[in-house]
């Protein structure tokens, strides 16, 4: 299973990938993760790759090969949607973060991205993960809301996923994150 996580540096793509990696370990599967550190992290586009299976070779997913894309921002979803395999699922946090070229007026944030993706991709889901996370107590746990939603859509083992979340976040944030996970799980249908 190939899961591509896309977002803006600072949105917690790394944590989301670690949780999925931990889940794979708890399930006794082989797993590889690929991350980006350094310059790209400073508010730029970031992707992390999660691959789970009986035997995984490449740590990175290639265009057309992702079973799932977790996108933490709408424009980032559009940027990586060609990674999705036919019939794959695109799960998008329905928020816009303006990139610098848009802020400076050098480029326009494209209109109708969400509508286009919903029309083009049968398995596209948009969820207000940021506001769900705020409801759980911390807007920053939108990444974990997304994991909750994904867990339900893919029929992942809920207990094991929650264990993975607990294992990967600092103890003092565990409760909020588990709440965010549960809300994400409940709200997606």
């Amino acid at each position: 299973m190939n899961i591509l996580i896309a977002g803006v540096g600072g949105q917690g793509t790394l944590l989301a990938s670690k949780v999925l990696g931990r889940y794979a370990v708890l399930c006794g599967k082989d797993c590889k993760l690929s991350e980006v550190h350094g310059m790209s992290q400073r508010g730029g586009s970031v992707t992390t790759h999660v691959r789970i299976g009986d035997k995984v070779h490449s740590p990175v997913i290639w265009a057309g090969a992702a079973d799932v894309i977790l996108a933490f921002e709408v424009l980032e979803a559009a940027r990586v949607k060609h990674f999705l395999r036919p019939g794959g699922i695109l799960l998008v946090n329905d928020v816009k973060v303006l990139p610098m070229p848009v802020i400076t007026g050098a480029a326009k944030y494209p209109e109708g991205l969400k509508e286009d993706m919903l029309e083009e991709i049968n398995g596209a889901f948009f969820i207000p993960a940021a506001s769900i996370a705020a409801e759980a107590g911390d807007a920053r746990s939108a990444n974990v809301v997304m994991l909750g939603a994904m867990c339900r859509l893919f029929g992942f083992d809920k207990e094991k996923m929650m264990q993975a979340v607990t294992d990967c976040v600092p103890e003092k944030f565990a409760e909020t994150n588990l709440k965010a996970f549960a809300l994400g799980y409940e709200k997606v249908k």
């Binding site: 803006v8 540096g9 670690k18 990696g21 931990r22 794979a24 370990v25 082989d30 797993c31 590889k32 993760l33 690929s34 991350e35 980006v36 550190h37 350094g38 310059m39 790209s40 992290q41 400073r42 508010g43 730029g44 586009s45 995984v56 070779h57 490449s58 740590p59 990175v60 290639w62 265009a63 057309g64 090969a65 424009l75 980032e76 559009a78 940027r79 949607k81 060609h82 990674f83 999705l84 303006l98 990139p99 610098m100 070229p101 848009v102 802020i103 400076t104 007026g105 050098a106 480029a107 326009k108 944030y109 494209p110 991205l113 807007a139």
Partner: protein
Amino acid sequence: MKELMLTNHAVARGAYEAGVRVLSAYPGTPSTEIAESFVKYDGVYAEWAPNEKVALEVAVGASVAGARAMACMKHVGVNVAADPLFTSAYTGVNGGLVIVVADDPGMHSSQNEQDSRFYARSAHVMMLEPSDAQEAKDFTKLAFELSEKYDTPVFIRLTTRVAHSRSLVELCDREDVKLRPYEKSITKYTMMPASAILRHQVVEERDIELANMVNTLDINKVERSRRGNKIGVVCSGVVYQYVKEALPDASIFKVGTVYPLPIKAIEKFATTVQQLYVIEELEPYIENQLKKAGIKCKGKEIFSLQGELSVLKILEKFNRSVPVPVAAKVPGRPPVMCAGCPHRGVFYVLGKLKLTVNGDIGCYTLGAVAPLSAVDTVLCMGASIGMAHGFKKATKGVSHNIAVIGDSTFIHSGITGLINAVYNESGITLVILDNSTTGMTGHQNHPATGKNLKGEKAPAVLLDEICRACGVKEIEIVDAYDLKAVESAVKKGIESPNVSVIIAQRPCVLLNKGPKPVMKVDECRNCGKCMKLGCPAISRSGSGVTIDPNQCTGCGVCAEVCPFGAIKEGVRE
């Protein structure tokens, strides 16, 4: 149960299990996490060195003293460490000595994509290349054995996709490796011509011995495909993983020792396949050596010298029918300075004064990005100062330029440039952007932060005192958020015929986790001046600018540039 580990952590684990006592490194993506992870083990010593040359010298010293030792760096760091590297190949080791180098094909966070495999070849230093975390740990341990057995430093080469991927690793206990006795030997450790001439012979003999040995070393291995013998591929590192997925019908020669190459073993492999390919990222390093040995193969006539490879690229080159989805054309999202970054205001001032800015390597390289667009040149660590001096000398002092460097980079390799500017009287002005950390690589301490790699209190070298000791008479310390003070200091420096240094201080905004003030806009006239700061917290619409309280850190720089006093510190709700 196996543990899911970042490869860099697995290298550190390998060093720990191999009984390494001393590790020295300078942070650099994608190598930084090795030292950070290693230092957490009990009973080891690890440090941030001011630069890679010092790091390697420390490791060589520890090795000669009898300990297993390691130095870690990114690819361009080897340029800095090249001097001790080449001669350490002559002295050989006492305790095992391993140098980890992490290349960055595709330049995720680098200024070039040089191929460090050539360093191994030209310095005659053995190089192993793992392809995942488990191999990284195993190869690291093997590297120490080989280092001691063959009396040579050994490289471990990683690339970004290996260093920054996580995969499963089986952990072992730490080996109890005793400190070897140090024995004085002028012919081995004192490299002056008389002894170096003799050691050079030793290096050549060792090379021949290793070149033979690697043909039977088990990390160089053949994996036969059950689907025929049409295609044979020679590859190493992450490319091996790509080939395994892309070409199940290919037999693979997986190279574990990229220097020396197991030429004889590859030659034998070549005779068993109809067409041999070399698939490697960057330079035709393996390919050219095979061709020189008379082994027919295809390589760079198919694959690019630039960037990373991928499963898809290999599928395409082998004409495997795959639908290649096309990426949508959407606006880019380049990295930007964070909201509240103390570098922003300084670059705003330098842009306003229309200075040519000789920049350097760090987060502040982002001062080159629109709308600040303030940086003119970026070359390598420390180059800002030498280049600013060169500008002055080329124009007989009339160039309107200024050097800008970060605190960590200044310590790394800026100091010698400053001494040169004083000694050779160019009268440059230098701004040290002192954010009290190594920012870009993720907040590492350095000699001026007052803390060591462990985060413990350490003696801090003072930047102004260093500058004074270099002979700089005009030194001003300003608050990086105080644009008036920055502007006045820069103007004074530029007008002065002498070398002057401005230290613009403010800790990196990401270091401050506490509650922060927030800026509010009231009666905006929509002049757009604050937009020139390129702050990600500020956006503009027809009615004026708005400040996103979730991103704003209340640095107040926008209020300073607003000509109408429309931005003020407000109350965070």
